[in-house]
Symmetry: C2
Subunit: 166 residues, 2 copies
């Protein structure tokens, strides 16, 4: 079996548009609230839950990976979005593929995040489970609770993340 | 006019129960996901939106206060919860009062948060606008978007937060 290595792409809102939203305030519009004392960067992401679900807040604490790293599987949640926001600016990698049939290797995109930006995967976006690069820090997760089968998996084989400077 | 000074109370889940949820992983139950590679501290808070609203993610960047500080007003959102989670562990103070009629001074409780814990105010909980103690760091805010009047205010006079070690 051959091993294929993904490229770590620069993270931009445009590059991430097919997969979801970026949660950060850098160069984003805001308005002032609280008598001018606070900037509100409004609605950077909407939580998708369908009409029969609700949004919940959880914390994830992943065991960190080291690079290079062999990927295991992709998953997706067809009924709701899922947001991950690092609570200590800790570095992580997201591997995503657009909604649709189980992704081929050419559909996969990997982004290295080192500036504390959070991500919100839209409902149906394929994504690898959380890939943290440092042991410190929890991730706030905002996702759907409700009836129905909301997780599909697709196994990967022979696909690897490269060594990267962090 | 006399000035009354609030006491900064220690933050515990029990003390905060009348007002909402605490978002942290310290001594909380979890289960393992992702083939044992990740702890999920599940549903630390539910987002309340009513049947006609939805949940959104925003970032708040408050101008920090210095202590002692005179409080301005309390507000509440009768139709939805509102969560604040510091993204750099930065210190802040929450001032809250239980749902009900506009609070008297005796109803106010002030908590100093220095360990990165987030808060989720339940719908109707009176709370002061965000009181950050350091200039660094945004807060992730999870609240309701939807029809209806979802903000009530109650002015305060002569109530002050004391100097505190941070």
């Amino acid at each position: 079996m051959t091993t294929q290595e993904l490229t770590l792409e620069p993270l931009t809102a445009e590059a991430f548009t097919p997969f979801g939203d970026l949660i950060h305030s850098h160069e984003r519009d805001y308005f002032l609230i609280n008598d001018g004392q606070c900037r509100r960067y409004h609605r950077l992401a909407k939580v998708e839950t369908g009409t029969d679900g609700g949004a919940i807040l959880s914390l994830f604490r992943p065991r960190p990976i080291s690079l290079p790293h062999t990927l295991v599987l992709m998953e997706r949640h067809p009924l709701g979005s899922q947001a991950f926001v690092p609570l200590a600016g800790q570095p992580y990698i997201v591997v995503v593929a657009p909604p649709g049939p189980p992704p081929a290797v050419a559909d996969l995109h990997a982004f290295l995040i080192t500036d504390g930006t959070g991500v919100n995967y839209h409902a149906g976006t394929w994504h690898h489970p959380l890939l943290a690069l440092s042991p410190g820090g929890d991730f706030l997760v905002v996702d759907r609770e409700g009836p129905g089968h909301n997780c599909e998996e697709h196994l990967l084989e022979g696909i690897r993340l490269p060594v990267a400077p962090v």
